[in-house]
């Protein structure tokens, strides 16, 4: 525990130092990124120890704040999230060093690093704090520091707009959490998590309400549909390494919060699982559909985060359902798949956001319709982005497949059980559809950006990014491959973690994990076989082509010898059949100038997909609230005397109230 506190201190110290050295970008960069990496390395030690052994570390001091106590606890669940947070933050920090360098003359890098370090520190606090007050404070600091990071380029109007949406959304979410914690505290007369668990909120009518509050409150942070509206605004606005951290780990604190709350509420009821599965299906399918319809690379990735949160929630729902109907094997596989997907998504989404950042860094363009053919100038970035795309589609032998496989098998086990059957079929069909849609989405993202010919003449000469940006991406890609190939061992090592979440005994979990470990071993064997065959095919092809000179030509366009870049399929045209098929959900707007006459000169087609929920739900809602509040406008006279009168009247009425 000492080490954690020490690493927290390093984060804060280096953040403050880089803030004061803000005038000197080089020093600020060194201090900021160096501090994050060092703090993360130190913090990883206790996290891995706790995760490995399942032993719990605690730290407690009394605190002045009412109901508060400075109580920290590192159990396997916290340690797992801590590990994810620290790994991705450190890697993103290394990347951010070079990424931010371009802004050195325009922006105060010190401030950015200050908020980055505070964000990391607050995320660490969120997952280790064991008191409601402390938790909410850390939660609030996390929201604020990430708000300042999102509004890094605050001279741009859309960035400010995104910042506002994020700030409002996150605070509405937090409001629900306040109610949740007040409810729990009222029942247990303490805000300590230990009391929540011990005094047993379970079995009362409170649990259902508390669960719903947690789903909304934490779901807003995690990005459940329809509370996801801030994600596609905030992630594109933030600098890429910040997007990676926010999308990779910060939204996962919402998932952590759900796991933690579930541990207070005792034995769940079946409808919790059904609700979570319904939320997961909605977020998963709609998330990836909206992702498919986007033209902005980072916006696309943000929507895809909603999709992956959906997959995580499907696993979570399955696990909850397993506990509710007393089928531990469902719980083990559901929770296991869900948690592993948390880590996996941090790795490949981090990788993809860093890749998107590299594209932005090299070309200055975010609209994928203007890109193309980048893999020839940026072979490393292209290949690494391909690996990330492959992993996020859940294809073997990379890591995305493993976590989805766990959830799939969990759903298989649920088929034929009463109360679970329908949900299982939903999960299976949903995951299969999500897999297909994700493949469409990421073949589009990778194919249009990196393959083919450039669709516009780039403003800047395109260059490969430097090693300091490549290395972090390489590490993340290796992580994707590593988890993919070492899955049986990783799953076995997750035993204490699953024990912590399900409350089952280690030996029981071993029995249930055996269901999955053997298949995973076979999958590893098959993956190795796949790689082996691939290698031999490469050799075979080389052998077949040796001594022959492969011809060079232009792309065969059915006899047309001068195909231009403008004749290529665009991202919109690639996605069009699918967006039309699901047009009911997407409500894509089209502006068509159809070709006219015998010799049409000019024709154009523009499509734009707004967020349906933002447009149809939140805009009218907030406008309505605004209009209602306007009715009170007459109160606001702008004269001091009137306000003094208000104060006097209020005081007087309070006095009368008290006398009564």
């Amino acid at each position: 525990m000492r080490l954690i506190l020490f690493s927290l201190m390093i984060f804060c110290f280096s953040g403050i130092c880089s803030f004061f050295f803000g005038k000197n970008p080089r020093v600020a960069n060194m201090m900021g990124a160096g501090g994050t990496v060092m703090g993360a390395l130190i913090g990883l030690v206790p996290a891995s120890i706790v995760l490995w052994t399942g032993r719990i570390a605690e730290f407690q001091r009394s605190w002045q704040i009412p109901y508060g106590s400075f109580s920290l606890k590192l159990d396997a669940l916290s340690a797992f999230f801590l590990l994810t947070i620290l790994i991705l933050s450190a890697i993103a920090a290394i990347y951010g060093c070079t990424y931010l360098w371009d802004y050195r003359n325009r922006k105060n890098l010190g401030a950015s690093w200050f908020f980055f370090n505070i964000l990391v520190a607050s995320m660490v606090m969120v997952v280790i704090s064991h008191n409601g007050m402390l938790f909410l404070m850390a939660w609030e600091i996390m929201s604020l520091s990430s708000f300042f990071l999102v509004t890094f380029e605050d001279e741009i109007k859309s960035v400010r707009q995104a910042g506002w949406i994020y700030l409002i959304a996150t605070h509405i979410g937090t409001a629900f959490l306040f109610v949740l914690f007040i409810l729990l505290a009222h029942r247990c007369s303490s805000l300590d998590f230990t009391h929540f668990i011990a005094s047993g909120v379970n079995g009362t009518s409170l649990t259902g309400t508390a669960f719903l509050l947690a789903v909304i409150g934490f779901g807003t942070k995690a990005g459940f549909m329809p509370f996801h509206v801030w994600l596609p605004e905030a992630h594109p606005a933030a600098p890429s390494h910040v997007s990676a951290v926010m999308s990779g780990v910060m939204i996962k604190t919402g998932i952590y919060g759900l796991f933690r709350t579930l541990s207070f509420l005792g034995r769940p009821e079946p409808w919790w699982g059904w609700l979570l599965i319904a939320v997961g299906l909605t977020s998963g399918i709609l998330g990836v559909l909206f992702a498919l319809a986007q033209h902005d690379l980072k916006r696309l990735l943000a929507y895809s985060s909603v999709e992956n949160i959906g997959i995580i929630t499907l696993g979570l729902g399955l696990g909850v359902l397993g506990l509710a109907v007393n089928q531990p094997v469902l719980a083990v596989l559901g929770f296991g798949g869900s948690l592993l997907h948390v880590l996996n998504h941090a790795l490949f989404k981090g990788l993809l956001f860093l890749g998107a950042g590299a594209v932005l860094h090299a070309t200055g363009v975010r609209n994928i319709e203007q890109l193309g053919g980048l893999i020839r100038h940026m072979p490393w970035t292209g290949t690494l982005f391909l690996i990330g795309s492959f992993a996020i589609c859940g294809l073997p032998p990379l890591n995305g497949f493993i976590s989805e496989f766990l959830i799939f098998v969990g759903a298989f086990m649920g088929m034929g059980l009463s109360d679970v059957s329908l949900s299982s079929i939903g999960v299976i069909a949903g995951l299969a559809a999500i897999g297909g849609l994700a493949a469409a989405c990421f073949t589009k993202a990778f194919g249009i950006v990196f393959l083919g010919e450039p669709r516009c003449t780039p403003a800047l000469p395109v260059h490969e990014i430097s090693w300091s940006m490549r290395l972090p991406m390489l590490l993340l890609a290796l992580g994707c491959l590593g988890i993919g190939l070492l899955s049986p061992w990783i799953i076995s090592a997750m035993n204490p973690l699953i024990g912590n979440v399900t409350g089952l005994l280690i030996n029981d979990i071993d029995v249930h994990l055996a269901v999955i470990v053997l298949p995973l071993q076979r999958i590893t064997a098959l993956s190795c076989f796949f790689v082996l065959i691939l290698a031999s095919l490469i050799l075979l092809r080389r052998h077949l082509l040796s001594g022959k000179i492969p011809g060079q030509s232009c792309t065969w366009d059915c006899g047309f010898l001068r195909p231009t870049a403008r004749m290529q399929y665009t991202a919109s045209s690639y996605a069009q059949p699918i967006t039309t098929m699901f047009g009911f959900f997407l409500q894509t707007r089209q502006t068509i100038h159809a070709p006219e006459g015998l010799f049409p000169a000019r024709a154009s087609l523009h499509t734009h997909t707004d967020d349906v929920f933002l447009k149809r739900l939140f805009h009218p809602l907030f406008h309505g609230i605004h209009r209602l509040l306007l009715r009170l406008h007459w109160l606001q006279q702008g004269r001091v005397q009137i306000y003094v009168l208000y104060v006097a009247v209020t005081l007087l009425s309070l006095l009368i109230w008290n006398l009564r």
Binding site: M415, A433, G436, F530, K548, P550, Q552, C554, A575
Partner: protein
């Protein structure tokens, strides 16, 4: 016993190009032509493997990797594929997901290789391929699962196979399974057949013969491949047809006598009858309008869902 397991993948590798020949001969028969030799696919493969290749200047390593990844995925898939009641080399709970996702790997790389050429035609094919797979994938998975749930009720606990593996599913099917839950099997088999036609680029979804029409899906994606690369694509699509053929023949010819040779021969017979069926369909039907294909595939999905609901309620 282990040696026999290896026989199936080897047999599939050797015999799968023959399926293409059978389809062609059937179509030739209906058209009143003499047709290509049965072994034409082998000749084509041999010729293509010896040729050199031509590459577009637009392409990168992704284009060159596509066919190899596709073939490697198809070959790996053979290892989990049971033949009739005979277990596959490797079987484990959930191997059907692995199989389906390997087909996904194949599709992913075919699609990105197509996009790598920067050709409008190939982009179009790629776009349609991913569109149809969104509907085909759930249908395939659910129909296999429906069969698995039947197998579970039919299987006696003596069989040491995980019941939610392909080998377990197919070991549980038999004539008696057809007797007591024929409806479910019929629904699942129909869904599977539609998916087979889609995934293997067959009429009424796709027409493998006309390379250069705007309606094409699979063939148009591989327009730019040549030489050994194209040979690998041809070979992997033959293997893919074999995979689906084995999946369908396992239901339609459910001979489970316990005698390995008899069962294997029956299923093999089924696999070879299937291309005749495909040939008949290709000769007697027109290709569907492209906009109708999603409806056909949704139909397959509905059949699969119906099958699984029936089996879980029944």
């Amino acid at each position: 016993m282990k040696m026999i397991f290896i026989l199936h993948p080897l047999g599939a590798l050797l015999l799968s190009p023959l399926l293409l020949g059978i389809v062609n001969r059937t179509k030739a028969f209906f058209a009143g032509r003499k047709g290509l030799p049965l072994l034409q696919a082998y000749y084509d493969l041999a010729r293509l493997f010896q040729k050199s290749a031509v590459y577009s200047r637009t392409t990168s390593w992704v284009f060159r990797a596509g066919p190899m990844v596709g073939l490697a995925a198809a070959m790996t898939a053979l290892l989990v594929l049971p033949i009739g009641g005979g277990a596959a080399c490797l079987n484990f709970t959930g191997d059907l997901i692995f199989l389906i996702y390997l087909l996904g790997v194949m599709r992913f790389f075919t699609v990105v290789a197509a996009l790598d050429t920067g050709s409008a035609f190939e982009g179009m094919g790629a776009s349609r391929e991913v569109q149809f797979s969104i509907l085909a994938e759930p249908a395939l998975l659910l129909s296999l699962l429906a069969m698995g749930e039947i197998g579970e009720s039919a299987i006696d606990s003596g069989i040491p196979l995980p019941h939610l593996s392909l080998s377990g599913i197919y070991a549980g099917l038999s004539f008696s399974a057809w007797m007591h839950s024929g409806t479910v099997l019929l629904l699942a088999a129909s869904a599977l057949f539609i998916v087979l036609l889609t995934e293997n680029a067959r009429i009424p979804v796709d027409d493998p013969n006309t390379h250069l029409e705007l309606t094409m899906i699979h063939e148009v994606m591989v327009l730019d491949h040549s030489g050994p690369d194209f040979a690998m694509i041809l070979y992997s699509s033959a293997i893919k047809l074999w995979i689906f053929g084995a999946l369908l023949a396992g239901i339609l010819v459910p001979v489970r006598s316990g005698d390995f040779l008899l069962d294997g021969a029956a299923t093999l017979g089924g696999i070879f009858l299937l291309p005749i069926g495909i040939g008949v369909i290709e000769s007697s039907m027109a290709r569907l309008r492209l906009l109708r294909v999603p409806q056909l595939l949704s139909g397959a999905g509905v059949l699969a869902i119906l099958a699984i609901v029936l089996v879980l309620k029944g």
